[in-house]
């Protein structure tokens, strides 16, 4: 999958999660939008739920079996879950490893 496909998939999945964003959905969604952490869209359970859905969507569309959230992702120096951009990079990297 190309990067722009992954970006679309992330944005698509985010659309389903408006109700899980404590401050409501943002006015604009772009790569710089923060997901988790300062100014992020989600609290921990929102993030966990979103990632579980996203993982399924990615695996479905790419016919892959990647894990989006695991110990390795969590122990990375920079969290892959801080913004949409870092998440898309993370997905792309995981798919390449496959």
């Amino acid at each position: 999958m190309e990067r722009h496909d992954l970006l679309r998939l992330v944005q698509d999945t985010l659309d389903d999660f408006a109700s899980m964003m404590p401050d409501g959905p943002p006015d604009t969604l772009d790569e710089s939008t923060a997901l988790f952490g300062p100014g992020g869209l989600f609290d921990s359970i929102g993030l966990v739920t979103f990632l579980a859905d996203l993982e399924e969507q990615v695996n479905d569309e790419a016919d892959a079996v990647i894990t989006v959230a695991d110990e390795r992702a969590l122990s990375a120096e920079k969290s892959p879950f801080r913004s949409i951009a870092s998440l898309v990079d993370h997905l792309a990297a995981r798919l390449t490893e496959e």
């Binding site: 389903d16 109700s19 899980m20 609290d43 921990s44 359970i45 929102g46 993030l47 966990v48 739920t49 990632l51 579980a52 859905d53 399924e56 969507q57 959230a69 695991d70 110990e71 992702a73 969590l74």
Partner: protein, 460 residues
């Protein structure tokens, strides 16, 4: 027979010999028949040299023959291990664990008796033999791990049935090898009532038997109440004879209780509480649509330590055959059930081991199940925990729908439905749609256990 441990039952049986003791395969059996066959079994057991203190497996289910044999073995001071068809695959294993010396396999109206050549020398059996007391071994139907064999002194269990209570026509729903089934049998017979047996636990079959035999009391499980509602079997049978439904063995979803109560406002809904290890406590629900219940009664004391119910019971088992003694030093049994307390009432929240710890927040599967059962299209659900690197555990659900639906739109619909009803951390993160049923032959909820990497679904 004076000094017989079932002398009080013989007295009840002799009072109304022509009354129905059991209904089996649609036919009635009288108390006179039961008394005759009890004595006939003594003759048979004498002939086969089944001495007092012998440890005997009885393979069968509720039937007039099984009940007569059960009582004869009690009267002889034997230890009984009832085993039903539902555990057939474990018969050999259970007979080995129970050191069974004689197997009596019942087949309809007859039975075969054979010696196994084993000697029951476990200290619990030696103690029963020395005291000349009848015993009972019940295997816990634990959803994980090995089944534990609880050894009881039957005199302790029989004690509470000396007091006369209501004479009822009762459905033998709980099984012959379950503490609830044994309790149903002894309660019914000790009051001169009628035990109505069924060949299977299909809702239509059970409800048809209740209608035909004018059953007053249905002791059952929350899962079966749910099945009655889902199958709408209650629309096809006249249940006007039904006065009381007792439910136990697992937490009741509030939604199921309320739905059933709305449909049957005149039926009393009474929660029961008991465990293989301690017997059944006397209980009294606050009301038919309340999960708050008083527990205790003669011979039982209760206390709560760290949110967990503990029970001290005169009828408690002597111990396990195949596990360490679980009692505290001062004789309390830690039930593992988390409870809330309000004055003298308890609310049972669920097995501590089934509680899902999501990032430090507790989730009771029963609460999530109760909520989602209200969602249109959901037929049944089993909620459990799955490991997650971020929150430790997340809530997962296997759901059976009435009509097929795509997973993604279903999940979206489910989240919208849960909004305002469940806190976010309680809403299932992982959802699997399935055609499977989630209950065991005991009609008790079976929750999947996540076992990858040797991690159980427990939160602690």
């Amino acid at each position: 027979m004076t000094g017989s441990p079932i002398g009080f039952l013989r007295e009840v049986f002799a009072e109304e010999p022509e009354s129905d003791a059991l209904v089996w395969r649609g036919n009635s059996t009288t108390y006179a028949w039961l008394l005759e066959n009890l004595d006939a079994w003594h003759g048979r057991l004498d002939a086969d040299s089944v001495e007092p203190g012998t440890v005997v497996v009885v393979r069968g289910d509720f039937s007039p023959t099984a009940v007569a044999l059960f009582l004869a073995l009690v009267e002889r001071g034997c230890t009984i291990i009832p085993l039903t068809e539902s555990v057939r695959s474990q018969w050999d294993e259970f007979e080995e664990i129970a050191q069974c010396e004689v197997v009596i396999a019942l087949d309809g109206e007859g039975g075969t008796v054979h010696e196994t050549g084993r000697t029951a020398d476990h200290p619990h059996f030696r103690r029963l033999k020395e005291e000349g007391h009848p015993g009972l071994v019940l295997f816990s139907s634990g959803s994980t791990g090995k089944s534990k064999a609880a050894v009881h002194d039957l005199l302790g269990i029989l004690e509470k049935f000396h007091v006369r209570r209501h004479k009822l026509r009762t459905l033998a729903f709980l099984l012959f090898d379950h503490i609830g089934g044994v309790n149903t049998m002894l309660y019914t017979l000790s009051n001169g009532g009628t035990l109505v047996t069924v060949e299977n636990r299909d809702p239509d079959h059970v409800l048809a038997a209740m209608e035909k035999h004018q059953v007053d009391l249905l002791p059952t499980s929350p899962t079966f109440i749910n099945l009655i509602l889902l199958s709408e079997a209650y629309r096809r049978h006249d249940l006007s004879s039904l006065k009381t439904v007792t439910y136990g063995t697992e937490p009741m979803p509030q939604s199921t209780l309320e739905r059933f109560h709305r449909l049957f406002p005149d039926v009393k809904l009474q929660q029961t509480y008991g465990l293989s290890e301690i017997g059944i406590l006397r209980s009294k629900s606050k009301s038919s649509d309340s999960l708050w219940v008083k527990l205790g009664g003669e011979g039982f004391e209760t206390r709560v330590e760290e949110g967990i119910l503990q029970v001290k019971a005169r009828s408690a088992m002597l111990g396990y055959l195949n596990a360490p003694d679980p009692f505290t030093e001062d004789g309390w049994f830690i039930t593992g059930d988390e409870v809330e307390v309000d004055g003298e009432y308890f609310r049972i929240l669920g097995r501590k081991s089934e509680i899902i710890n999501v990032g430090g927040e507790k989730v009771y599967p029963a609460e999530v199940e109760s909520c989602l059962l209200e969602m249109p299209g959901v037929e049944d659900i089993a909620v459990y925990g799955e490991p997650n690197p971020i929150t430790g555990r997340v809530v997962a659900a296997r759901i059976r729908l009435r009509e097929p639906e795509e997973l993604r739109p279903f999940r979206k619909r489910m989240r919208a439905f849960c909004e305002g009803k469940l806190q976010n951390f309680k809403i299932p993160v992982k959802v699997e749609l399935t055609d499977d049923t989630f209950h065991s032959e005991r009609v008790k909820k079976m929750r999947p256990r996540y076992a990858a990497g040797g991690v159980g679904s427990t939160s602690e």
